[in-house]
Subunit: 88 residues, 2 copies
DNA sequence: CATGCTTACGGATCACGTAACCATG
DNA sequence: CATGGTTACGTGATCCGTAAGCATG
């Protein structure tokens, strides 16, 4: 599991659409599709249902989404923490 | 920034020693040294002071460490969340 | 000269983008 | 046939381990 995969997952969850998410992330659609697939493989369970109109979050995906957002927030905070002035 | 880098950082911080941390992580010492270096490069600031006896956390490193542990904990929680039973 | 971090280098793996493919409405 | 996800494939980048280098006490 990589941070890129986690960010990809959140973006697909928010757009409900791999194509649009790929635009937002500035990567090609197949690359994003692969990232989602490999994330699901690693977790051992699908996170999305593939419908004819896009990607719909499953329950496992909803649960994962909450933690995914926490992870990204913690990463952002970690980056900020390094550049804080020492006295803070 | 990758999760592997974050785990590497925490292990080096805990051991104060790249060599010992590499053993614990089951990777070669130069690989670990590179991960730490590239993490510092990306963050734009050193996290450790290189002493003749090993690695000592700097203030920026101490601040980063707290968030790094949060990130790893959130990742572990995310993995668990996927396999929880749906009713939970 | 023992300990410990870093740099050089070659090779394997990974991850991307383009192109082709398949399914649905 | 338009939309949207997946598979195939070749290539460029990444990352590892071994080996050599460098600093310190």
């Amino acid at each position: 599991m990589s941070l890129a995969q986690i960010e990809s997952f959140v973006t697909v969850a928010e757009t409900g659409n791999v194509s649009r998410a790929a635009e937002r992330l500035r990567i090609a659609q197949p690359a994003l599709s692969r990232q989602i697939r490999s994330l699901e493989d690693e977790l051992g369970a699908p996170l999305f249902a593939r419908t004819s109109r896009g990607m719909r979050l499953l329950e496992a995906g909803e649960r994962f989404l909450q933690h995914a957002r926490q992870i990204l927030a913690a990463v952002a905070a970690a980056k900020c923490a390094v550049s804080e002035r020492p006295s803070a």
